[in-house]
């Protein structure tokens, strides 16, 4: 189980009336002739937990690549706490933490070395990095594994280390791309619970992409993406009501049937 470690300094909870943690406006992107995203707009409120739902190929990964500036959007805008990703990439990127779909830890390095590398990439001084690593590792219950090689950790533990790593530089927005893929039920439950707790207790805004509908709860906001288009967004209740469905899976099925118009 996770230890109830308290952070050394109070979390920075963004003002409720400030700009959204993430604002995606009229975002389109194509690879050659293939349209991956088609005029997508939605927002993630500060401190809110938003589920991005979509089947494989819906455009979730392209959306994540654009939000993390692997490559830039040509049309539309992405704003992180009001900072336009194209115009002020530094201000925008320092506010986000990311857990990618593919595992990206160095297996041959220790947990601590991996965290230090990431801290350095964000310009953190080694002492600050060390303190934050201790804090975050304690939070995920892996403090005593800091000097173990990542290779020795289980899949679930590696994921938790990746979450700790993403939070090292104190971002206000956490992005997770299918973080529970390939994990057993217990690890899935733990990781989801951990991130929900972060959102609740730290005021962290979260965008959680998944195709596993059972990960969504009634109080979540959801964004449904299908074939590069936004099919629905809002609270689970609103999305269900809009499509006249009793449950989210039914609403999801209703909004993801039907092919894209040519």
């Amino acid at each position: 189980m996770y230890e109830a470690a308290m952070p050394a300094d109070p979390p920075s909870i963004p003002a409720i009336h400030g700009p959204p943690a993430l604002a995606v406006e009229e975002l389109s992107h194509s690879f050659g002739k293939r349209v991956a995203l088609d005029h997508v707009s939605f927002a993630v409120p500060p401190g809110g937990f938003t589920m991005l739902l979509g089947l494989n190929g819906a455009g979730k990964t392209t959306l994540f690549s654009l939000i993390t500036r692997l490559y830039s959007n040509r049309t539309g805008a992405i704003r992180i706490f009001g900072f336009d990703l194209r115009r002020q990439p530094t201000r925008a990127l320092e506010r986000i933490g990311v857990v990618f779909q593919q595992p990206t830890l160095d297996l041959d390095l220790t947990v601590r070395q991996n965290l230090r590398y990431h801290g350095g990439l964000h310009g953190m001084a080694p002492s600050d990095c060390e303190a934050r690593a201790r804090e975050e590792l304690a939070r995920i219950g892996l403090a005593e594994r800091a000097d173990d090689k990542v290779r020795a950790l289980s899949g679930g533990q590696r994921r938790r280390v990746e979450i700790a790593r993403a939070l090292l530089h104190r971002p206000n927005l956490l992005l997770l791309d299918e973080p529970t893929v390939g994990l057993d039920t217990e690890s899935r439950r733990q990781i989801l619970g951990h991130v929900r707790a972060l959102c609740r207790e730290q005021g962290l805004a979260v965008l959680w992409a998944t195709h596993l509908l059972d990960e969504a709860r009634d109080e979540d906001s959801v964004v449904i993406l299908h074939q590069g288009r936004l099919r629905a967004s809002g609270s689970v209740r609103a999305v269900c009501a809009e499509s006249g469905s009793a449950t989210l899976p039914i609403a999801f099925a209703a909004s993801t049937t039907g092919e894209r118009r040519p």
């Binding site: 990964t61 690549s65 500036r69 986000i96 350095g120 964000h122």
Partner: protein, 271 residues
């Protein structure tokens, strides 16, 4: 963003590269064995075949072993540069490249830092090799070891930047073997690394022209002259010019707005 931020970032990239290198002992030995095989076997065999006349920067007749050492030093850097670009392609496929690129620091800086980290590793290998070559009897002036350092930095960066540029053209890891064959071997053999240019001219004036224009030849000569406390200005200008060109093109290729990802998609979309 303060200077300290940039420094912390650079240091952590170099530390990671160093740690990864130390963990891959096979890679270390492979990197060292390759030039040693050339020195201990190829050079000995060639000693009799290839007489080397007095050419600058040498002031007396030298054994072939002595001639070939700077070339083998440059070869270590060439292989390292390509190895790094190979690891960039691997990182791209495996996703660890994304961790690097999500850093808030400017992308050109991240690429240069990555390049410097690779060069630091290659320079460490070079000095281990030069130490063994010294035991073998190849003894440049002691100060030459120090004078070669800036030359090694420059040539390492130039060859690394070339690798970086190539890595942006290679779509997938499997395509990389071709690049090795079409880049490493022609660059190595059509250069002054293994035989002096005047020898090549005797064999083929065309090949001589190619070798003279080969940036790798310039890197070899830059290192050779510096090791003997001389400056080859032509080589210096060539290597610097190529570095600016290759690095500029690589930064463009990895630019988020113009680069290949925006057109082709990231690792996951390509899969």
């Amino acid at each position: 963003m303060s200077a300290a931020t940039y420094w912390c970032c650079l240091r952590s990239i170099i530390v990671r590269e160093g740690l990864r290198f130390l963990h891959q002992r096979e890679r270390f030995f492979a990197a060292l064995v390759r030039p040693l095989v050339w020195l201990a076997i190829f050079a000995v065999g060639f000693r009799a075949v290839l007489g080397v006349s007095i050419i600058p920067p040498y002031e007396t007749y030298i054994l072939y072993d002595e001639y070939v050492v700077p070339g083998l030093v440059a070869m270590i850097q060439l292989f390292n540069g390509m190895q790094n670009s190979l690891s960039m392609v691997y990182d791209r496929e495996m996703g660890s490249m994304r961790t690097l690129l999500v850093s808030p620091l400017p992308r050109w800086y991240l690429l240069v830092a990555k390049l410097l980290a690779g060069v630091a590793v290659s320079i460490a290998q070079v000095y281990v090799f030069l130490g063994i070559a010294w035991l073998w009897g190849v003894e440049p002036p002691p100060l030459g070891y120090l004078a070669a350092l800036p030359a090694l930095l420059l040539s390492g960066l130039m060859l690394g930047a070339l690798g970086l540029l190539l890595s942006s053209f290679v779509k997938q890891l499997e395509n990389f073997a071709g690049v090795m064959n079409f880049v490493i071997f022609p660059m190595l053999f059509a250069s002054s690394a293994l035989y002096p240019l005047w020898r090549i001219r005797e064999g083929s004036p065309t090949l001589y022209q190619i070798a003279a224009w080969n940036p790798f030849t310039q890197a070899v000569e830059l290192i050779r002259f510096s090791l003997y406390l001389r400056v080859d200005v032509t080589a210096l200008l060539w290597v610097t010019g190529c570095l600016v060109l290759f690095l500029g093109a690589a930064v463009l290729a990895y630019d988020p707005g113009r680069g290949f990802w925006a057109r082709r998609g990231g690792p996951a979309e390509q899969a």
